[in-house]
């Protein structure tokens, strides 16, 4: 495509995350967060179960 497309020349940036230093640490944080959220929902369900 003769588009003068700027993405052809633009370098692909892969910077580190703003928190926790590396991306794998961010991923583990998100997974731990999910586990905590599910556990809290389970406590919530158990507490209010009829």
């Amino acid at each position: 495509m003769t588009t003068g497309d700027p993405r052809e020349d633009k370098p692909i940036l892969d910077e580190p995350p703003p928190l926790l230093g590396t991306w794998p640490k961010v991923y583990w944080f998100v997974l731990a967060y999910l586990a905590v959220v599910i556990f809290l929902f389970w406590l919530f369900t158990s507490h209010y179960a009829p």
Partner: protein
């Protein structure tokens, strides 16, 4: 709706469309129109991804689901953070480095043209159906609430979508989504506080929780494994995990969002923002539905929430008897609810709830459809202050437009890049391809309006959308798993793998009672297994011949 509500509704519509157009005013090249020049910050991508997924159907249907069935639907979103992490580590850097406009362009780089064309076709069929449903589903409900004809509602919504999507491209879509999500959250918070505030003075928030729990409406997590149960912890983590991987990893309506990021890191942050925010947001929306249920324990709701069905059922000979049973059951349930608050047993309350449900089921049988999608809007239009009603209806209106614009924009992108440019017109000026992108946007917008006008009645609308997706996503995910992780599988293995995976999904859907979320797992596994087997067979054939 009062005059103030209409002013707020139209003011919001005009503001949102104008804002989108203003932000998308410099979309004068293909790269700007389709990828926003790769300049988007993470928060705009993140909110836009959330807005596209959280369509009007979410607000209309999810709150109603919590009212009738409890909060177990939240488990559907448990797979989303898992999928976001996997995609941030794999698809995001791969697609960025491949410098593609669409996910399907990458399949030709990795496999061959026939695999790209096949998956493009699967996407166009699947997303084409989805675009029609995304417009039709909320239009059915809004037309009843606004008193407009269904055709006028779809044409107004679809016309506005075509206008700002064709003019401003993905920039207009994304920035309109950002405004949309902010106002949606504010409107939902208002609805929540008003539902609590309008409870009788002797019923506290904690009493409300106790009553919702006693009625089985706070059932957020079910750890029992069951293939036929749509929503439990396992179908949420595994079945929905596969669905989310497919949706965010292979569906151009989502891939295009994070391809607009100015760097790999910004795209990852946009996805991970959703990973963290989405589950609590859905929990909150369902919790509003549970609180609306408690509100209606003390304020008698209509027998049916669908106003037109209610009028129709009123003329049936059985109506008087059903209404008398319903009124009696409501009184008994209200009295039993007060006893539960004072520490009494819940058996009587649950028995009265069953009687209320039975009377409503009888009325719904006469009406010929369930009224789940009208519950929240009935609450909004009857019990929220003037002005706020207009704002919430407006937000639902534009949420429908947001989901639809994202889908139409992605359909147009795939049509231009993977069909027109790939097969019909490989060389041309930027101006030419920009024009084709705009024409494709108008075409898909008109198609969505036409499809919406012929759409059949759907039950719980969000499930209809997800079920259509689950019929196709498994095989699409399978081919990308092969592309990313299995280097020894070539184009022929991937191509036949997709066809076999699609056949397996249709067979499971047609001949087994397995719940739809599992179709994604089945499809993906069949594509991977078939791709591996065919490629191994090809290699053996090459060795021995």
């Amino acid at each position: 709706m009062t005059t103030l509500d209409w002013v707020v509704l139209f003011g919001w519509l005009i503001f949102l469309v104008s804002y989108g157009l203003w932000r998308g005013r410099d979309s004068s090249s293909v790269n700007q129109f389709l990828l926003a020049g790769k300049t988007m910050p993470w928060y705009a991508m993140g909110l836009s991804i959330m807005a596209t997924q959280a369509s009007a159907i979410t607000f209309i249907s999810t709150t109603g689901q919590a009212y009738v069935d409890g909060m177990r639907f939240v488990q559907f979103y448990f797979g989303l953070p898992l999928a976001m992490v996997i995609l941030s580590a794999t698809a995001v850097p791969i697609f960025h480095r491949a410098k593609v406009y669409t996910a399907y362009e990458y399949l030709e780089q990795r496999f061959d043209a026939k695999t790209r064309s096949l998956v493009t076709l699967v996407f166009l069929i699947q997303r084409g159906l989805g675009a029609g449903i995304a417009l039709a589903a909320p239009a059915i409900v809004l037309s009843v609430i606004l008193g407009w004809s269904f055709h006028v509602t779809t044409i107004v919504m679809g016309g506005l979508v075509i206008f700002y999507t064709t003019t401003g491209g993905i920039k207009a879509v994304t920035w309109a989504d950002v405004q949309q999500m902010v106002v949606i959250m504010a409107a939902l918070l208002m609805a929540f506080f008003i539902a609590i505030w309008k409870l009788p003075s002797d019923v506290s928030f904690f009493d409300a929780m106790k009553l919702a729990g006693a009625a089985g409406r706070l059932n957020a997590v079910d750890t029992q494994f069951d293939w036929t149960n749509r929503y439990n912890l396992w179908s949420g983590l595994i079945g929905s995990g596969f669905l989310m991987l497919a949706y965010f990893g292979t569906d151009q309506s989502q891939v295009q969002r994070y391809l607009t990021g100015r760097s790999i890191g910004q795209s990852r942050l946009g996805l991970l923002f959703n990973a963290v925010a989405k589950v609590p947001v859905q929990f909150f929306i369902l919790f509003i539905g549970a609180m609306v249920f408690v509100f209606f324990l003390f304020v008698q709701p209509p027998l049916l929430f669908h106003p037109l069905d209610m009028e129709r059922v009123r003329t049936a000979p059985e109506y008087t008897q059903i209404e008398a049973r319903y009124n009696q059951a409501f009184e008994q349930r209200q009295a039993a609810a007060r006893r539960v608050i004072q520490g009494g047993a819940i058996d009587e309350f649950r028995a009265a709830q069953k009687d209320v449900d039975a009377a409503r089921a009888e009325a719904q049988r006469l009406a010929g459809e369930n009224d789940t999608n009208y519950i929240f809007l009935s609450f909004v239009t009857h019990y929220l202050p003037r002005g706020i009603v207009g704002l919430i209806i407006g937000v639902i209106f534009t949420a429908a437009m947001s989901a639809s614009s994202g889908e139409i924009n992605s359909l147009a992108t795939v049509t231009m890049v993977d069909v027109y440019k790939r097969h019909f017109h490989r060389e041309g000026t930027d101006r030419h391809f920009l024009l084709v992108s705009r024409v494709a946007t108008v075409f898909w917008g008109c198609y969505a309006i036409a499809f919406a006008n012929f759409a059949p009645g759907f039950g719980a609308l969000i499930e209809a959308v997800n079920q259509v997706g689950s019929l196709f996503y498994g095989s699409m995910l399978g081919v990308f798993v092969l592309a990313f992780f299995v280097k020894r599988v070539g184009g022929t293995g991937a191509f036949w793998g997709v066809l076999l995976g699609q056949a397996a999904i249709f067979a499971v859907a047609r001949f087994t009672p397995i719940a739809y979320l599992w179709y994604n797992v089945v499809g993906c596994l069949v594509v991977v297994a078939a791709g591996l087997a065919i490629s191994a067979g090809q290699r053996r054939g090459t060795l021995y011949t």
